[in-house]
């Protein structure tokens, strides 16, 4: 059924459009609301760029943190972010896709344990990020894992944090592949796994990739759980391995914000611009992937 898109004019509506100040008042209230949101976005970007402008140069990327703001830079934080994200990519994405395949292709939804897994994932997505920090502190940094504040601890903690996002996005992508493709493959004698590997997954990859990039961009901006793991230390070297101490961009930014000197706030603003550019590039890539490869069935 072709119904008109919302927002298009409908027959008969013109007559009542003339009525009263209530309509105009409501329209104004809606526009003011949108304006508040948009103006804040613009104000935020302008504030960050103007404040950080004096320090937006290559020194920011090549220097290490220092107690003297003039010489300080964010190189170790940028490399730390790359290392931690590497751990997240390697651990979170395979597990997330695996869980999504299980839930969409194998799980019998009438079984109580499969329903439990499903409800559980929805709940995990709503757990505050700082609680994941507590989890990482209790099991990974100290206690059971006893890994200390290292790249591996941070990567695994963030991996658990964004796992529900990857699972939910991958499930949607897999679900969007039409049933007929699977049936055709099975009818030709392929086993269930052959069908998944050769037909379903390739067709779902664009959606999975988009969701994974968005999950990563969430992980890249996350600071709170890492503060609990002991990431707020003075790190003046790039990580050399998984067991290395580290800093990441958001934590470095927080470090600079929490200092009283104005010069450090300028540095923080400049580092924020770097972080936002990285995020914008990732989101752009996700949108491009979706536009370029997504098929409508």
């Amino acid at each position: 059924m072709a119904s008109p898109a919302p927002g298009s004019r409908l027959v008969g509506e013109g007559a009542s459009r003339r009525t009263g100040p209530a309509q105009w008042g409501f329209r104004a209230a809606m526009l003011v609301s949108l304006l508040i949101a948009m103006a804040t976005l613009v104000a935020l970007l302008v504030q960050v760029v103007t404040e950080g402008w004096p320090r937006l140069n290559l020194d920011l990327l090549t220097s290490f943190p220092s107690s003297r703001p003039r010489r300080a830079g964010a190189q170790s934080a940028i490399f730390g972010t790359l290392w931690v994200m590497g751990v997240v990519v390697v651990t979170c994405i395979p597990v997330g896709i695996g869980a999504a395949i299980y839930l969409e292709e194998y799980a019998d939804r009438t079984r109580w344990y499969n329903r439990l897994i499903e409800i559980n994932i929805q709940n995990l997505a709503a757990v505050p990020s700082i609680v994941y920090g507590i989890l990482g502190l209790a099991f990974l940094a100290r206690g059971w894992g006893d890994l200390g504040p290292t790249v591996l601890t941070a990567g695994l903690t963030l991996s658990l944090l964004v796992l529900p996002i990857v699972i939910i996005a991958s499930r949607e992508a897999i679900r969007a592949v039409p049933r007929s493709i699977r049936e055709a493959s099975l009818a030709l004698g392929a086993t269930q796994w052959q069908t998944i590997r050769r037909q379903t997954l390739p067709a779902a990859i664009p959606g999975i990739a988009t969701g994974s990039i968005l999950a990563l961009s969430r992980a890249i901006g996350e600071a709170a759980p890492l503060l609990l793991l002991g990431a707020l230390t003075f790190v003046t070297f790039n990580p050399s391995g998984l067991d290395s101490a580290f800093s990441v961009l958001p934590v470095q930014i927080f470090n600079w914000i929490s200092r009283p000197q104005e010069e450090f706030h300028v540095l923080a603003a400049a580092a924020i611009v770097v972080l936002l550019v990285i995020l914008l590039a990732m989101n752009g890539a996700a949108i491009w992937l979706r536009r370029r490869y997504q098929r409508r069935w």
Partner: protein, 314 residues
């Protein structure tokens, strides 16, 4: 991999179509994928365990009555006091400020995008609004501290102007942070209302305002409630904005111009302080974390209830 028997011709009779022989490769793969899915359940169990054990130990050291009734929170002092109330009231006050901004702004924007905006306008406005959701919270914290707080200090309409750290600035910026959550989800809910309902209202002579508020909005209520509740739980669990902009002093006050510390901000700052494992200071992280977890858990339960109650099926 999937090595099924190749000598089936040796069998006396051809098997019936659909008869199964075990495929071990397939079973191993299914098992591995199932383990991936179980890992999420493992995460939940691990969270509960991580919180529970130190919390029980904590209540061995500190009376539970003191924890919930005392009005002073000073766990790391030489003469410690463990009343969680100031942290809870600060969390609720800041969340309240955030919702007071985000609910009207978010819902009015959603109604505009769903019912008023032309498709071309919506295709520009919606992604732009969603940019707000992608901004890291540490950036919002910086914005609150260096932009909103000075603005509030200049324009504060009631009484003494706020200090460098205050609840109002953190709450307002947190409100902006959750606007895209509320707008996006409630717009989806309103867009899912069948067009026939709008056409029916228009046919009865209702204008766009009446149709939006009296027909579409109630029909989408379950989705809208879910959106608001999700925004609420994000606001309660938000850390960086309050840590940066609201200050680090526990303060039992309802004046948003004052500095105060939320539950999340306390957890983070105690974590920064690097408490020795097993000390009471270390255990407070878990006791406050458990309180926070129970709060968000209850909110999620209520939201599931509400959604079920108002759900309309078309």
């Amino acid at each position: 991999m999937t090595t099924a028997g190749t000598f089936e011709s040796a069998r006396p009779l051809p098997r019936a179509i659909g008869a199964r022989r075990p495929r071990y490769g397939e079973m191993v793969i299914k098992g591995l994928l199932g383990i991936c899915a179980l890992l999420s359940v493992g995460t939940t169990i691990a969270i509960v365990f991580a919180l529970l054990q130190p919390t029980i130990e904590f209540f061995g050291d500190v009376s539970i009555v003191e924890f919930f009734t005392s009005t002073t929170w000073a766990p790391l002092f030489a003469d410690p006091e463990f009343g969680v109330l100031p942290l809870v009231t600060a969390t609720l006050l800041i969340t309240g400020v955030a919702l007071a901004l985000a609910v009207p702004v978010g819902l009015l924007s959603a109604i505009y995008l769903s019912e008023y905006a032309r498709p071309r306008v919506r295709n520009v406005l919606k992604p732009t609004l969603e940019l707000l959701a992608g901004i890291p919270t540490v950036v919002y914290g910086f914005f609150a501290l260096t932009f909103v707080t000075p603005l509030l200090q200049d324009l504060w309409p009631f009484g003494d102007p706020p200090g460098v750290f205050n609840a109002a600035s953190a709450g307002l910026v947190m409100g902006i942070m959750i606007v895209p959550t509320i707008t996006s989800l409630s717009e989806d809910a309103m867009a899912a209302v069948p067009h026939a309902l709008r056409e029916g209202a228009f046919a009865l002579g209702a204008n766009r305002l009446t149709t939006s508020l009296r027909v579409v909005f109630p029909a989408a209520l379950s989705g809208i409630v879910a959106a608001v509740v999700l925004g609420f739980s994000r606001a309660i669990g938000e850390t960086m904005i309050v840590l940066i902009a609201a200050g680090g002093t526990p303060n039992l006050s309802f004046n948003p111009a004052e500095a105060m510390q939320t539950m999340t901000a306390f957890i983070a700052s105690a974590g920064i302080g690097d408490q020795p494992t097993g000390s009471t200071g270390y255990k407070t992280i878990f006791a406050v974390g458990a309180t926070l977890f129970v709060f968000t858990f209850l909110i999620n339960l209520i939201s599931i209830r509400l959604v079920r109650r108002y759900r309309q099926v078309y």
